[in-house]
Symmetry: C2
Subunit: 364 residues, 2 copies
Amino acid sequence: MPNKKNARTRHTSVSQRRQVTIIEVAEAAGVSIATVSRVMSGSPSVRSELVERVRRAADELGYRPNPAAQRLASGVGDTIGVVVPNLANPYFYDVIKAMNIAAATEGYQMLIADANEDPDEEFDLSTNLLRQVDGLVLVSPRMPAASLRRLAQENVHIVLVNRVAVGVGLPTVAVDNYSAMVEICGHLARLGHRRVVYLAGPELSWQNVERQRAVEQAEAFGLEVQTVPAGASIDTGHAAVDRALELKPTALVSFNDLVAFGALARLQELGVRVPDDVSLTGFDDIPFAAYVSPSLTTANSPQRVLGQRAWQVLHQMMSGAEVDDTPLVKAEVVIRGSTAAPTSSTPDRLPSRPAAGSAAPSVH
Amino acid sequence: MPNKKNARTRHTSVSQRRQVTIIEVAEAAGVSIATVSRVMSGSPSVRSELVERVRRAADELGYRPNPAAQRLASGVGDTIGVVVPNLANPYFYDVIKAMNIAAATEGYQMLIADANEDPDEEFDLSTNLLRQVDGLVLVSPRMPAASLRRLAQENVHIVLVNRVAVGVGLPTVAVDNYSAMVEICGHLARLGHRRVVYLAGPELSWQNVERQRAVEQAEAFGLEVQTVPAGASIDTGHAAVDRALELKPTALVSFNDLVAFGALARLQELGVRVPDDVSLTGFDDIPFAAYVSPSLTTANSPQRVLGQRAWQVLHQMMSGAEVDDTPLVKAEVVIRGSTAAPTSSTPDRLPSRPAAGSAAPSVH
DNA sequence: CTGTTAGCGCCTTCAA
DNA sequence: TTGAAGGCGCTAACAG
């Protein structure tokens, strides 16, 4: 508890009024606190006259139950926790937003934690949240399976999003990354591409593992695949391009859209044209993928569905229902302007200018 | 409390263990619960030998204090609430993320609520959150001043972000929208633009009021300004373009970047070239503004600073410190590719094709 | 420095 | 259908 009570600033002029408790309501209504409690929780076994009286007293006094007390007494609350690797990634927002809406519909609130792409922090935040929420959603967790297993042992309901962990016994909601990525590679192969570089995501990311597996699998289609480590954000994509180009690929396959954006910016700085000189693909189809230029060929990972389903599963667990193991969610490949057939004259030497003029976007 | 306890699914195989309480730790360590409490809260007045014994007992048993009980007993907690109009707007990401990081550094957690651009829900969510958090941040609230005033009366610390409300007595952290928008208009005027349409944001948004005020003020520069209502999201921008074009402007000034993105997409569908046929500006400089094509002229609203400052102010209030009224944060205008001098041949009739080929991004 | 003891506000048997 | 009373787990005086 980092806090002290009883603060006062020149902004808080009005005399702070204490919390209205159930006792005051009971007195005002001339009933016992038990009755008030019953009325507040909508118990049917209260004479309607009393219900009326209590209701009136309650909102005249502006009574609102104290959640901490409710939770302490009843053992349950109305909030769920969510841990994400990085709050700055739009991909997660859609998942979170969908989840939040679904949860709010049933009266639940959301405690959010940002792990900053750090697996250890992820675990710490999770254990911490565990104590105060009724359910926990881990979105794309990077923490090791052993950590997940420890969490699974705890007395809280947990669901995993976009992380399939075998032998952990946690229900999972995930996208079929593999198939979609195979399709993307197939698309490139059909266009006539041969040399492809995969701009890899975070090593510990299940999604990265799946996508990379697919890309490598694509060698069966005659693609020659090499991998360059990048990450999950715009700047890692930007930074990885130079190494990737040394391998003289005709196409760059990015871990996700953000990496692709970064790569695109760098390519433009270098004067390498997309898709004329090199094709580029993303993954996730975040809302901006359609608005960059050239618009990005990517795979539409249905975030909203994921979010809704995650809540649905969690809710099932919390209400003691049997949990359906949900199948992988399909991701649709979206062909846009950033991919095309390779030209015969793949540039063997690159332009030496470090950056084009004012048109070149700067990366922060 | 929407919840029931005691759920069981085929996933939760291990026998759920009860919460370890302070009593068990006390017994295991052979001390009183008061001592355990002291040790856990780092009180200096405990013999180091006992500290040691308690610590060992605590983590052997895996003891973690129950936050609900702590909060009930002490009256304070360690979580702050945040209400945003729309979680899907990237503008808010950075504000939230910065705030979250700052708060986490001091041991605070974040309860998030999405008001879905609905002022009433905003108020409800706020009053609800009020009961269970130690501080509340309202980001760009659209609710009426009267509602804010009621909230201000409550026994919680509140800070406003990007909403200046006079006579409400709530500390505020905000961007200087007005000056930046005046600058944007000046930029257009210097380029030689005369007829400008403002794609307005949400009516109840203070930021919109400020930006619109600035645009209208720009008539002093010789700009002829007309306003078309749009909103705060991509699709509202997309939808507003047709009406805007009827006014035959040489430049479109958008409420924010998202609206500009939507407008850009629609303009491209119509075959109207940016900036050749019409210039376009945004506001906020979200990370993607540099990556669309043409890259967007906009104003860099320093979200991170806002987030940090919001936390700083809130923290000051919560710790009873005097609150500095912070001055408006300056927004820098960023000139990019979407603005240029108007050509003499402003298209009087538009191309009739409803949409260009595969290059036209689709809006969802 | 340490232990005892009231509560914090509410829920929930258990009787009536 | 209602009320009385015992906790929920912890903090914070207050004694010693």
